[in-house]
Symmetry: C2
Subunit: 102 residues, 2 copies
Amino acid sequence: MSVDALAVLAEPTRRRIVEALRRSDHSVGDLVAALDMSQPAVSKHLKVLREAGVVSARTVAQHRIYTLEPGPFRELDAWLAPYRTLWTRSLDALERHLDSKE
Amino acid sequence: MSVDALAVLAEPTRRRIVEALRRSDHSVGDLVAALDMSQPAVSKHLKVLREAGVVSARTVAQHRIYTLEPGPFRELDAWLAPYRTLWTRSLDALERHLDSKE
DNA sequence: GAGTTATATAACCGTCAAGGCATGTACGGT
DNA sequence: ACCGTACATGCCTTGACGGTTATATAACTC
């Protein structure tokens, strides 16, 4: 809901998780293997990400498959939008693109 | 230099500072007044922001005027770019825009 | 339903950073 | 040169958070 997507994504490990999920959905075990970390640590981060709405999980057998949710990224993009004027002048078209649904 | 712009900007107080600077340049005293915080706390945050390249300062008389620097916002935008595919499909033109120098 | 696999939660510890106060430093005015 | 203003820095305390181990829960297998 809030712009704390930023705070949540600031954590390096969580960023690694998110980058892994960007390529494809992963189970917790997959992530543990990919990150070379303890399973509880990963589960904990996933909980944080879940509660921030950054990811969601579906249960498949005894596995939980995690997926990225667009919402927070949208928010982050929206937050960042006003700052684009810092490095570009001809941003009108760009902003209109981002603000438009499609 | 690094994508820790994210980490730096995750801090709520620093975000408030940055949002203030987005509207116009501010002296330290201005920021202290705007944020209702102790001056040392503000100076400390400004140091973090400075070292991350998010802001720069120029000395005017006994005042130090802080300004936003575009670099980190650019980085953040670049980091965010791949995730745009989450909420939009026709992003080719956009990405090309962001990847191109100008 | 006993055992196994997959994940979540609990309890604990160490680190780190934000905030406060006190003090240092730089500049300007007189 | 002295004083006041504007800002930076040092030191300290405290709370939040990441990581680990141990344990609980859930679901599949036989």
